[in-house]
Amino acid sequence: MIPSAAVTTVLLAALQLIVFVLFAPFLTATIRLTKARLQSRRGPGLLQPYRDLAKWWGKLPLESNASGPVARYAPPVVLGAILTAALLVPEATSRAPLLGWGDLLVVVGLFATARFVLALSALDAGGAFGGMGSSRDVAISALAEPGLVLALAGAALAAGSSDLGIISAFGIKQGIGLLGPAHLLAAAAFAIVIVAETGHHPVDNPDTHLELTMIHEGMLIEASGRSLATLVFASELKLVVLAAVFSAAFFPFGGATEIAPGPIALGLLLGLGKMLIVGQGLALLDASIAKARIMTLPDLLGLASLLAIAGLGIQVLLP
């Protein structure tokens, strides 16, 4: 029996939603564990992020006297935007679960929505740290955005579509021949953007609570209880979604091209494996290099844009 299109969409969306939601804290856990081992610490167990989320979810929320509805209702909007983006990215299959709902620009746009609302909510309490984190986050993202879009534009021009599913299917069909110089330059640019967007070394330190160095943590400083749990989970999920975009656009090999249980299971395992590799790369960065001064970040993020531009140049000017 061949399931109808609507049933397939619902089943794939539900599968992806459940897998991403359950996997996101685990990915963060593996990054922390590797980082700890590289620093000769034992590190927390792999279930610690789940325990943290459960702990915060059950806690009595504290709200600042100065803050109002923006800080209160921002966390659901942030997580909602990232969850929506999560369903527009192919993972187990070469098509996104929500086929024909939106392309890579919609995913980038939903990330921008999440960033806008989070940065705004950080200003609500009227403290210095929220403003500091918020101002740095929007500035760094502004520099990262051209690299992000240009890198994806390279993949989109090669495939002839900005739909992530079509890009991914194109890549699977090309096989190893996909990995030309233009493609690898774009992939390198995207890798730098992942580091910046998920707040790992050398851009941000995910573990710091030292006041003057916080970026993402600075924005969460006034959040507590369920708001904190929602925002932390949203950032864990964002890493998963970005890693999924990375593998769909640049290394889609192994994704299921037909809708059948066997290939989907295989594609899912390979997809999760690729995410773990991305996570280990981030852990390696965290453990091996120091956080850079914020003033030097334009060099790094400019490099991402330049790599992506070089890739596009090869693609367009040297056919």
């Binding site: 966390p75 929500l98 086929l99 709902w101 746009g109 921008a112 009227g126 989109a156 006041e211 367009v316």
Partner: protein
């Protein structure tokens, strides 16, 4: 960098007209090379963005007007905490800010999405010269940078004005604007959302207009109202209504889950400021908020600053510290002002020709006739 709320909005008009012109430019480029379907798409983007800009910019100016009316202040650095006094204005201004920043599911995103698709089309059409295609590809990066900077700017404008603690007495004594103004802003805010969700029907109506200019075939790129299966000819789809409703559903479910029972039990505390009582002066101002961006772009945003400290006589304790900073506008200093000076100088030279003596004018005419005769010889 601009902290006068109305001038800030005026500068963003330049940004948005630039986006409209990107659409128009890629339409002409594509039309010149026979890619009529994509040309009609890019023109649709330009038309759609013109409409959207009219809506969200009016909304933002009304919001800014309400702020100026309530406080008498234009400078963001003197505002703050207005959301508590003017919740309706804050909500409307926030919707406008999100729309101008190009965030889904609002209208600004839909037209910028189409503009991006036009650029993708121009960069990917094989018939166009490689250099022009490369320029279109670079414009993709430029547009991405612009929209991300707009996010930064409008988080600043909204957050510093409406959130946090009031920075001056005028800001803390503000009150909500008049009812007709609230109604007008609400209508425009609803229009922003409506045009965003109805991007499918609106853009197909505008395509009909674009079709007048360019011959049009079946659409390559679709803004759909609801999700659509990509056909073989489709390049990309943005199902505005579906994405909007999914987003709303996700937000609703999470919001209900987080606030269903916990809502009543919230403990209110002071904002954490390392143990000191919070003061409005601890907050990031508009100037400090924009500082990372100013530093990142320090080659074009040259800042002058001046710190002067006065001490209590005979001690090392400062009695007053004054800080002044100013951005030198390089475009104004290096391009506009020299051009202005040059045209003034040229006008002064031209003035000498107009001496007032009739004999001089007759001499000019004779001279002109002689020159013409010689030239037509």
């Amino acid at each position: 960098m601009q902290h006068d709320i109305k001038r800030l909005l005026a500068f963003h008009s330049i940004e948005n007209i630039g986006i409209i012109l990107i659409g128009l430019g890629s339409a002409l480029l594509l039309q010149a090379h026979g890619a009529t379907e994509l040309a009609a798409l890019a023109l649709t983007a330009a038309l759609f963005h013109s409409i959207n800009h009219a809506v969200f910019k009016s909304l933002l100016f009304l919001g800014a007007g309400a702020v100026v009316r309530a406080t008498g202040l234009h400078d963001l650095n003197h505002l703050g905490g207005l959301g508590r006094k003017m919740p309706a204005t804050m909500l409307a201004f926030g919707v406008g800010a999100a729309a101008i920043s190009g965030l889904p599911p609002l209208n600004g995103f839909a037209s910028e999405w189409l503009t991006f698709q036009g650029l993708f089309g121009a960069a990917g059409t094989a018939g166009i010269e490689p250099l022009a295609r490369f320029a279109a590809a670079l414009a993709i990066g430029g547009l991405a940078l612009t929209t991300a900077l707009a996010v930064a700017c409008f988080v600043k404008a909204t957050g510093v004005t409406f959130l946090g603690l009031p920075r001056t007495a005028a800001a803390s004594n503000a009150s909500e604007t008049t009812r007709p103004a609230v109604v007008a802003m609400s209508l425009l805010a609803v229009t922003c959302l409506g045009l965003g969700l109805a991007a499918g029907p609106v853009s197909s109506a505008l395509r009909a207009v674009a079709r007048v200019a360019f011959h049009d075939g079946p659409p390559l790129v679709t803004v759909a109202a609801v999700s659509a299966e990509p056909q073989s000819s489709n390049v990309a789809i943005y199902a505005a209504l579906s994405v909007g409703l999914l987003l709303a559903a996700a937000i609703g479910i999470i919001a209900i889950a987080s606030w269903a029972r916990a809502r009543a039990r919230v403990r209110r505390v002071d904002t954490w400021t390392c143990g000191i009582a919070p003061k409005p002066a601890f907050q990031y101002t508009a100037t400090s908020y924009a500082k990372p961006i100013r530093l990142f772009f320090r080659r074009i945003l040259v800042a002058e600053r001046e710190v002067s400290v006065e001490y209590h006589p005979g001690t090392s304790f400062p009695s007053s510290v004054r800080y002044r900073s100013e951005i030198t506008l390089l475009f104004e200093e290096r391009v506009l002002k020299p051009a202005h000076r040059l045209s003034l100088r040229a006008a002064n030279v031209a003035r000498k020709l107009q001496g007032g003596a009739i004999q001089l004018y007759i001499a000019y005419m004779v001279l002109a006739v002689l020159v013409l005769l010689w030239w037509a010889r």
